[in-house]
Structures are given as structure tokens and as C-alpha cells.
Subunit: 334 residues, 2 copies
Amino acid sequence: MVTIADVARHAGVAPSTVSYALTGRRSISQATKARVEASVRALGYHPHAGARSLASNRANVLALVLPMREGMHMPVMMQFVVAVASAARRHEHDVLLVTADQGAAGLRRVAGSAQVDGLLVMDVEMHDERVPVLRELDRPSVLIGFPADAARLTCVDLDFAEAGARCVDHLADLGHTSVALIGAPRAVYQRDTGYAHRTMAGFSAAAMRRGVSSTTVPTDADHESVHRTVSGLLERHPQLTGLVVHNEAALGSVVEVLRVLGRRVPDDMALVAICPDDQAERLNPALTSVHVPAEQLGHHAVALLMAKLNRAPTPALTLLPPRLTDRDSTRSRA
Amino acid sequence: MVTIADVARHAGVAPSTVSYALTGRRSISQATKARVEASVRALGYHPHAGARSLASNRANVLALVLPMREGMHMPVMMQFVVAVASAARRHEHDVLLVTADQGAAGLRRVAGSAQVDGLLVMDVEMHDERVPVLRELDRPSVLIGFPADAARLTCVDLDFAEAGARCVDHLADLGHTSVALIGAPRAVYQRDTGYAHRTMAGFSAAAMRRGVSSTTVPTDADHESVHRTVSGLLERHPQLTGLVVHNEAALGSVVEVLRVLGRRVPDDMALVAICPDDQAERLNPALTSVHVPAEQLGHHAVALLMAKLNRAPTPALTLLPPRLTDRDSTRSRA
DNA sequence: TGGGTGAATCGAACCGTTTCGATTCGTCGA
DNA sequence: TCGACGAATCGAAACGGTTCGATTCACCCA
């Protein structure tokens, strides 16, 4: 292994000078710096990460705690993971995966062993056993999602309440007077996941405000469940003309079931989805949708964590504003 | 921070004894071991990962190089990633993410800085710039997929050629005499991705062997492309009665397009998919399919890498045998 | 009884970097 | 001309583990 001593010898300086030349923590003359950099390239030097973390008390690694519960939409997660990894690299950090099944002990382990400088936790539930642990850890963290008690924590998420409201507003503006929300699987609501509840709350409140009658119903993503959900919904609410779907995995089946049941989109039934833009565009017809900005969320979460690591002031709560794009699944009611 | 010296003092032994008690690299009396473990718990001791890696020359971390190219199916990737992370934990290792956009330099960086003990590389192409780098690295690696030249490398993948063949055999056994393969997006073939080519080759060879006429055609996953692909296929090959689909993202649209075009599945058109079982089961009708065992692949890849780390003999090439499950999208032709 | 043996434990060196005071040297102002 | 000053660099002490040779001690057998 090439060490900093080798580089120092090759460049004719002291090891500490090499360190300062590379980290920039003290001023080094241009000439020396250039010489050191040349030696680094000539020898193929890479600082030993362990030694560096031992001496500097910084690992340059962020932990990313994965969700593991059912009902999560994999493509959105994966987009988020990739966004986090590349954002971290832009800040000279790497990303260590922690699976959710390790629970709070996993957080203690990676933080306690100084393996990571900070933590990013996905899929936080309202009452999450990890939240108190994060609070007592000596390392900063950023949560994606909101627990019931967010005191002394930094959280970021899409403003799902506003997203639900925007869907209702869009439909109401088009003249609809009876709308329904098809949401996440029942299991997601039962385990008290914030985003699902918040969408529902925003949806219902907006309907109330606009004087539109509304219902909400959960659904599993398999075809049969979707069929049961949608046909049941249409039976109980024959006057229904607008549907909001907040369930990426069920989206395709919803469109298909409507067709099978003889409801044309958008003529007989308007449809608004809450899902990533590329998914909305891929379906037929292309769906009017509120974008779920997984990539932006990932970048933002990393930016917040880096700010905390640099002891910069950080907003406790960040809600990204939803963006609704009008496509072919909604149209003004003549 | 609690150090090994603190634990040693608390337990009334030397630091080295604590180390041996915890790592088990030398025999320690039951009594002492128990005392040390009690002190560890009492003080909440976690060994400093950097110090450990510096002293022992082992980081207990594996690199996982993510794919970033279009046409990859996110759910399968994510399943694989999670499987790798949890398998690694079972071997006392963590997983560090490396995004593919960092290219060969990323591999050099994480290996050269001793940040990881070994590397797992997903989505390897036939002619991949990373392959020669992996060969010259001083750390073991396992590839998911096969490059054109796999000499001195360890590779693991599903036996896609056999998977393609099994689909043909199943259809031929049911009496079909004209079949087609709807494959990955054209871009995937153009960048010379092994698995797509191998499925195609296995499919064509089996058709030849069984005396069945066959075609293969790529498709993008958006609804319009699928419509174009499928209707074009049916026009050019009116006698077609069996379809194999190796494109997870397009699967839903294929089923829907067939319905729109008035072909009932399985009565007018038999359908076999190559995709994860849960996806095949979720569609309507439930699809006969060859399972893509992302989870099993992840576990296997980690097992191979751990074997290499332990200097155990390791097979150069591992092809997991495909498993075809008969469901409702195929049926014997009366 | 004394030397040999093996299990259990100790002590110190070492891993490769960062960091903090100390040192050198050229420059400037009095 | 001398002292002060600041920029550039050096030297050595951490950082917290692991590992290897040495040591202790109880026990056994000749």
C-alpha cells in the first residue's frame, strides 16, 4: 500500500505537508502543492479511509436506512437511493446501507462505531422506535417523513397534504362535484405512516372547503383487489366522476379496471395520480398527476444533513411544494 | 467515546484480552470472556470501525456498484440491493453504495482507500470498462452478469439462455408452433448487455431444436411503444399463438394491448413472462412465468464474495437454474 | 522435586492519517 | 540593523484498535 510517507518522500516534504496540501486545512505554497499532487498521481496514492477516520474523527460516510415494509413502491425508493448516493458524492461522502430490519440497534451500531458521520432515515412512521434513538445519538440525522413528535429533529418530505388538496382543487376547477381518493394498502394506514394520512387529510379538507363530496378508500395493489375496490366504489357512489389515486403499484390496474367497467377516461371518469412523472406519462392515457419528486427529495435530504454536519443552521421541517401537471386523464366538464 | 481501554479497565484485564475475547482469535477463559462481555454492555462499547480497519486491514464493508443505465427494472434492482445488504450483515459486513456513474475511478477509489474488502458489481456489460480494473484490483470481486471475457473473474447470474429455452419448451409442449420473444428496450441490446442476448439466444436455439418458428423483437416500456411492437408483431406473424415477454416494465402494457386488440389470454394467445413471481401473480390473468430470483442472486453473490475473502475455492461461473411456474396465461391447445 | 507443557493473559509495537505547537525564513517597519 | 510578523513547513503526538512474542501459572510426569 502507498502511504502518505511514500508520497512525502517522493515529493521531498514532510508527511504533514502532504496532508495539508491535500486537505487544504492550512495554506501551502502553489509550488509545493503542485509537487505533492504530481507525486500522488505518480504513485497512485489513496488515503487510507480507516486511518483518516481514526485521526480526523470523520468517516466521510452517511448511513442510509432503507424501508422494508410492504406497500412501498420500489421504483420511487430506488430513485431516492440513487439520488442520495450521487448527492453524497458531490459532498465527498459515501453512503452505507442499513436495512430497516436491523431496527434501532442498527443505528446505534453504525453511529457508535464511528462508521458514519450522519444518518438518513427513510419511511419514518408516526410512532417509530428509531426516533428516540436518533435523538440521543451523538450524530446528526435527517428523516424522510414525519414522526408524530418531531421535536429536535430535522425532517423533509413532499407536502402530501397539499398534494391531496391540489388534486381536489384541480378536479373541482373542472366542475367535478363528487370525488374519491384511492390510497395506499390498508396495512400502510394501519402502521400509521404519515404520508398516507397526510394525503388523505389534505384531500378531505380540500373537498370540504370546495363543497365537493368525497370518500377515501385504501387498496392493495394486486389486480383482484383493485377490481374489488374500484367496482365497490362505483356501486356505492354512482355519481362519482373524479378519482385521485395515491398508490403507484395499483395505478395500472385502476386504469384497466375502469376500462373493463366501461368508464372512459377522461370522458366518464377523471383521474389524477400522485406518482412520479415518468410513470404518469407511460400510461394510456397519460395521467394528470402530482409528481413525487424522489430525486429532489434525496438531494435535499443530503443537503440538509451536510448542513448539520457543518454546524450550519437547518430548518426543522421542510415540505417540498407539490407540482400538478395536466395531462390527458382530466378535462373540463362541459 | 468508550474505547477498548475503558472496557479493559472496567473488566480488570488488558486491552488485548478484550480484543481476543470479542474477536475470538485466541482462546480466552469462559470467566474472563463473560466479564468482558458484561463490561461491553455496561459501558455501551462499540469498536471504532476506522481503528479496527487500520489495525486489522479489514474494513468489514462490501462495495455494491449500482447500475444506472436505462431499461433496468427498478423493483428487481431494489430487491437485489436489499438482499445483498441483509446477506452481508449475516456475514458481519456492511454495504457501501457506489453509483455506476463514477465508473472505474469509483472502484479504484473505494478499493484503494481500503474502504471496502471486496466488490459486487451489478449490470455488467459484455465489454465493460470496469472489468479490466476489477482484474487488477488487489481486492476480490463478484460480477452479476457476464462480460465477454470472464477470465480470472467470478460471475453469477440467472441462466437466462436456459430461461429462454424453458419458455419455448413450455409453449411447444402445449402444442404451439409459432412463438415470439418480446425483449428489453433496443438500447439494452445496443449496449451489449449479456442477459438480454443470452435470453434471446436460448430462446432461438430452443425454437430451432423444437421445430417451432420464432421471432424476437425489442420494445420500450411506454404504452405507445408496446402497442406498436405488439400490433406490428401480430400483423407480420398472423399465425403467432405464443408470446414470451422479457421486459418487466412493459409486461402490464402487453397484457392490456392484447386485450384491446381482441386477443384473449390464454385462449387466443399464450403468454409466458420472465419476471419476478410476485409481479406475475399480480397481473390478470396471473402469468405463467420464469422467476427472476433477485433475492437468491443477491445472497449467492455475497456468499461467493465472502468465500473469496476467506480464500476458499470459488467457482468462476455460477448460473442459477431457472424455475418456470405454470399459471393462467398458458393452456394446452386442444 | 524439578523440568516440561499448554492454556490464559499481558505488554508493546504497529497500522496511516491528522493536528497542533514549534521552527525556519524572508520581508517590512521603526 | 534589529525585532516583529506572517507564510510555509516540519516533527511528534495522538487516534483506537489488532497482533505477536513474552510471561505467568497450574498441572503432569519422570
